[in-house]
Amino acid sequence: MAKGPRLSTLSRVAAPARSVAQRFGLLLLMATAIALLILGKTHDDGVRQMRVMAIEVAAPILEVLSAPVISARHGIVELQNFWSTNRDNEALREQVARLVKWQTIARNLEQENASLRALLNPAHDPGAMFISARVIGDTGGLFVQSVLLNAGRRNGVAPGQAVTTALGLAGRVVEVGQRSARLLLLTDLNSRVPVVVEQSRHRAVLAGDNSARPRLTFLPANAKVSPGDRIVTSGHAGVFPPGLPVGIVSSVSEGEARIQPFLDWSRLEYVTILRYRALPQADILRRDGLGASTLQAQSQAQAPSTGKTVEAVP
């Protein structure tokens, strides 16, 4: 009986106290979120490590959950293939007829290339090794264009490695955990890829801006690009192997060229991670900032030190 009034006094005191505590909690959480944002700006590496650790926990769950999604996508593709079998056959027959001609040309060129190579004895590009991985998460949202892969450090994945599909370059590895990695796509705001226009050999940097078609930047002023030109990686900076197909020029306006990547984003299921290292790190640092001509001259002068002597040419 005596409990009644005491309880009401208690609740009369407790209710505002609780609302104050709630409001304080809300402010505390907001402050934490803003602190995280500032930390993310100033201590990028630390935040990235924490994120990799958290993704390590989510990766096995995503891997299991994504398996049926991938199967369903395969099913849909197979159904589409089934419907278009006749049309595909027709197109493929035409293509085979065309490619047989190309095969002859390619064989001749291969022969010629081999004999010329034997005369010159140039330094070979180091061969790339492959790691295959499956896409387990289509992440990114508004500001980032990235996907999660189910291969990590234990498979030999390292930050900076190039990632390709059968069609062309997809992007590069930016975060690596023990069993998962994040692939930054070509189209991301932070993606920069040294490329070359295949025909004219003009160098440029392919810069993503979160749109579907990244931009060609640092193109020489006298360079002429026109829609339909193929763009491949140049191999400069030693991160991407040279000659990987990237895309074709889709539009040129007011000195701005945009690229349609070869990659079919809607069919990004399996990717190939390239373990490629063109030059030792120290070499890149030393050569950084040198012009193309000096670089070439230097690499010729250094040829003996790499074990391939010019004198050995018959």
Binding site: L29, A33, L36, L39, G40, V135, D138, G140, F143, L268
Partner: protein, 170 residues
Amino acid sequence: METHLAHRVANFARAGIPITISVCLVLVATLPYGLPKSSLAAPILALISVYYWSVFRPELMPAGAAFLIGLMVDILSGGPPGLNALLLILVHWAASGQRRVLAGKSFAVSWLGYLLIAAGAAVINWFFASLFYTTAIESVPLVVSHAIGTAAYPLVALFLARMQLLIGQG
């Protein structure tokens, strides 16, 4: 005694439904569907879920939970850390504060509420993302994302309402 315990466990599980659903929605939305704009699904679904529970069962969606769900979206996306956490706290605060207006009235009112609160969130999103990247972020993707979210709201809310029935009034 045993039934009493089972009852309490069941109650506890039911109380966890809003947070569990939100986490599951984010995880499922992250899977690689290969559809255009599908990477926008996770932040949109998180926003709708936090809004819905903050309006209809705010006691089961505390601010701390909204924060953690936002943090999860941030970690998966690789975007500015803490940005979605901040947005979802603000959405929770706005939605639970106005729940007398938003809940109990017709469905259209809660939909309109979502439209306004999510629009506010998009503006704040733009502001903080621009600060983070120290450049004026393109606003078109934000508008597109807001439009998709508003269009998807009725369907997602219908699903969440079904889930709400599982919780009951207890």
